[in-house]
Amino acid sequence: MTEPNEIDDAVTERNQQKAAVRWIAIGFSVSACASLALAVVYFLGGQPQLEGTLLAIALGGIAVGLGLWASELLPKGPFVEGRKSLHDTPVDRHEAEEAFEGDPEPVERRGFLLKMLGAAVAALGVAALFPIRSLGVRPGRELYKTHWTPGARAVTRAGTPLTVNDLDVGGLLTVFPEGHVDAADSQTIVIRLDEGEYEDPPGREGWAPQGFVGYSKICTHAGCPVGLYQQETRELFCPCHQSVFKVLEGAEPTAGPATRPLPQLPLGFDDDGYLVATGDFTEPVGPGFWDRDRD
C-alpha cells in the first residue's frame, strides 16, 4: 500500500519536472530567437551593442537550458567511484627500471661513448643557438649616442626650425635634430626660462642661451617621454612612474624612482638665428643599463 505522503511527493516531483521542462524549453527558444535576431542585425550592417547583447542571449539561453536540464532532470547521484592507489607494484617498478636500463650487458666503454654523445649534442645545441644572433643588430655604441651633432638645428616634429621668437618665456617644445624627426632617442624638450632665474650648472656654462634649456625627453627610469611640465614649480613630470625632475637644477630627480637627471643638450643659436645643438648629449640618454658608465 502506498502512503498518501509518497503519492504527494510523486506528484510534486512530476510537477517540478514539468516546470523544469518548460523553463528549459523557454531557454532554448529564447536562444534561437536571439540567434535569428543576431543574423538579422548582422545582415543589416551590424551594431556592436546589439551584436554583443544578442550573442549573450543566444549563448545564455542554451546555458540556462542545459544547466537546468543537468540540475533538475539528469541523474544526480551522488555517485561514488573508488580511487585506486596511483602507484604500481614494486615488481612493476623494478621492471620499469630494467626497461630503462635497456642494455643489461653494456660494452665496456659505454660511459665513454655516452660522454662523447653528450659532447656532440651539447655542441649541436650551442650551434643551434647562434641563429638567435640574427634577431638584432649589435648594440655597439647605439645607446651612447643620438643624432644630435654640433650645429644640428632643433626642429619641431613638423620640421620647422626655431628662432628666439618662437618660444615665449615659460613655454616648452619637443624638438628633434633636423632631418631626424623620427629619431626616438634624440627627442629633446626645450624650455624657455627667464634668464634671471636660471644659472648654468658647473661645467655647462653657455649651454642655455637666452634661457633656452634642453633636456633629453626620455625618462632615465623606464624610458617614457617626460611629457608633463608644471610651470609654477619648474618641474618635469613623467606620467608613467611619477618621477619628478627639477628644471632649474640640471633636471635632477626629486621624487619617484628615477635615479639620474635628464641629460642636458648643449644649445646655441647659429648665424641665421636658429636654435641649434652645439654637440651631442655628453652621456647616454634614457634608462640605465649594465655598462652605461663605460666610456
Binding site: 543537468a70 539528469l74 555517485f79 567511484e81 648594440p139 611619477q242 619617484g256 640605465g288 643599463f289
Partner: protein, 447 residues
C-alpha cells in the same frame, strides 16, 4: 543509433571498456572546482575570437595614411598594425565585438587562473601527488600573463607603445646581458620596426600552442589522478563522490562554457575596452596620461612606482632601478610559486599523498602566509594607480606613494597575524562556520 555507433567504434578501436569507464567517471560537484574550468573556457573563447581577429590584423609598423570611417584620425599617418585594428573596430562587421570579447576574455582568463591558484593553495590541493599539475598550472599563469601583454601591445597605439617602451627598458636593466637581450628581442634600439611582427608570431602561434599543450597535459594528469575532494561524511582518501561525466557533468560543464561565453559577449558588446582610437597611434615622443596596464600587470607596474630611487653601482657597472621591481620581484614570485609544494612538504615533513582537501583553518600558518602574500600583491596592484588616487584626493603623488610604501611592507604582516589568530580560533572553537565562532576563541585560542 547509439548501439550502431558503439559497435562501429568498438570494432575499429576496441574502445568500449574505455568509453564505459570514461562516461561513468565521477566528478565532485563543489562550485570552487568550476573556477579552473572558467579559465579553460576563457581560453577557448580567446582562440575562437583570436582566429577571427588574426584574419584581419597586420603585424607591420609600415606607415600608411588612415582613411577609415573614424573621422578624427582621417589623414593621420599611422602604422599598418594600428590601421588594421582601426579597420577591425569601425569597418569590419562584428569586428569591434570580436575585439572586445577577445580582450575581456583575456582579462577573465588570467583572473580565473589566479582565483583557481588561490583555491588550490588554500585547500592544499597542490600536495603530493599533484605537484606536477601545480607546476604546469604556474607555467600556464606565467604564459597567460605574457600573452596578455604581447596581445595588448599589438595594436601599436599610444598606450601599448608606452608599455613596450617600458618593457624594452626592463630588458635593458638586466645585468650583463640586458643590452643584448633588448636588442635581440626588439631588433635594435627602441622603437625597432621588427617588434610588432615578432609579437604577433609569439602571441598567435608560439604561446597559444604552448598553453594548449600544457592545458592538455594538465587535464590528462587530472584525469589520471582524479579530483581532490573536501572532507565530508562518506568521502575518504580512497573514493570520489559526485556526478558522472555523462550526462550530468558534461551538460553542466557545457552550460558553464556557454555562460562564460555569454558574459564575455555581453561585456564585449556593452563595455568598451582598449579604445585605441582614443589613445591615438604610437609616437615615441608622446605618452598617454594616465597610463595604466591591463590588470594582471598592475602588480609589476605598482612595484615600479613604489621602488625608491635606488640602484646598485660598482666598478663602473650598474644594476638599474627597474631591475629590482620588474625582473627580480617577478622572478622571486614565480620561483616561490614553483617551489611551494616542495617547500611546504619539507617544512611539514609531510610526504604522504593526499586526496582530501584542507579547509583554510586546518593549516593556519599556510592560510596566514597566503593571505599576507595576497595582501602584498594587492597593495602593489593598487599602487599602480597612485597618480589617479592623488588626483582624486587632491594630494601630491609623493604622499600617496609614501603611504603605499608603508602599506606594502606593513600591511602583509598585520593581515597574516590576524588571519593566523582567526584560523587558530576557528580550529579551537570547533565551529562549523566562521560566523558561528565565538569571539573568545579568537582572543584565547588555547582554551
Amino acid at each position: 543509433m547509439i548501439k550502431r555507433f558503439v559497435r562501429g567504434m568498438d570494432e575499429r578501436l576496441g574502445a568500449s571498456s574505455f568509453a564505459r569507464q570514461a562516461l561513468n567517471k565521477v566528478f565532485p560537484d563543489h562550485w570552487s572546482f568550476m573556477i579552473g574550468e572558467i579559465a579553460l573556457y576563457a581560453f577557448v573563447i580567446l582562440v575562437l575570437t583570436g582566429v577571427f581577429l588574426s584574419l584581419f590584423f597586420e603585424g607591420s609598423t609600415g606607415e600608411v595614411v588612415y582613411q577609415g570611417s573614424y573621422e578624427p584620425l582621417q589623414g593621420v599617418e599611422v602604422s599598418q598594425a594600428y590601421n588594421s585594428v582601426m579597420e577591425l573596430s569601425f569597418d569590419v562587421r562584428a569586428g569591434l565585438v570580436m575585439r572586445q570579447i577577445h580582450h575581456w576574455a583575456a582579462l577573465l582568463f588570467i583572473a580565473a587562473m589566479v582565483v583557481h591558484l588561490c583555491r588550490i593553495f588554500f585547500t592544499g590541493a597542490f600536495r603530493k601527488p599533484r605537484e606536477i599539475n601545480w607546476i604546469i598550472g604556474v607555467t600556464l599563469l606565467l604564459l597567460g600573463i605574457f600573452n596578455g601583454f604581447t596581445g595588448y601591445s599589438l595594436p601599436d597605439d599610444l598606450l601599448s607603445g608606452t608599455g613596450l617602451r617600458i618593457a624594452h627598458s626592463i630588458a635593458l636593466s638586466v645585468p650583463l646581458v640586458g643590452t643584448w637581450t633588448a636588442f635581440l628581442a626588439f631588433g635594435g634600439e627602441f622603437p625597432a620596426e621588427d617588434i610588432i611582427g615578432r609579437l604577433l608570431v609569439v602571441h598567435i602561434m608560439i604561446v597559444p600552442a604552448a598553453i594548449g599543450g600544457l592545458i592538455a597535459a594538465h587535464l590528462a594528469i587530472l584525469w589520471r589522478q582524479k579530483h581532490t575532494d573536501f572532507p565530508a561524511p562518506g568521502r575518504t582518501e580512497t573514493n570520489v563522490v559526485g556526478s558522472k561525466l555523462w550526462p550530468t557533468y558534461a551538460a553542466k560543464s557545457v552550460s558553464l562554457f556557454l555562460a562564460v561565453f555569454a558574459v564575455t559577449a555581453l561585456l564585449g558588446g556593452l563595455v568598451q575596452i582598449n579604445p585605441v582610437w582614443l589613445y591615438g597611434p604610437f609616437r615615441p615622443e608622446q605618452v598617454s596620461s594616465p597610463a595604466q596596464p591591463d590588470w594582471y600587470m598592475g602588480w609589476v607596474e605598482g612595484a615600479l612606482r613604489l621602488m625608491p630611487a635606488w640602484e646598485l653601482r660598482a666598478f663602473g657597472f650598474e644594476i638599474p632601478n627597474p631591475f629590482y621591481p620588474a625582473v627580480l620581484l617577478p622572478g622571486i614570485t614565480f620561483l616561490l610559486l614553483y617551489a611551494w609544494p616542495f617547500l611546504e612538504a619539507r617544512f611539514t615533513k609531510d610526504l604522504e599523498p593526499h586526496h582530501l582537501l584542507n579547509r583554510a583553518r586546518d593549516h593556519p600558518a599556510r592560510t596566514a602566509l597566503g593571505a599576507a602574500t595576497l595582501t602584498f600583491y594587492t597593495v602593489l596592484f593598487f599602487a599602480a594607480s597612485n597618480d589617479l588616487i592623488a588626483k582624486l584626493l587632491e594630494v601630491r603623488v609623493e604622499t600617496v606613494t609614501t603611504i603605499y610604501r608603508i602599506l606594502v611592507l606593513g600591511l602583509p604582516p598585520v593581515v597574516g597575524y590576524v588571519v593566523f589568530r582567526l584560523m587558530k580560533g576557528l580550529l579551537a572553537s570547533g565551529a562549523e562556520r566562521f560566523t558561528q565562532m565565538p569571539l573568545s576563541a579568537v582572543l584565547h585560542p588555547r582554551r
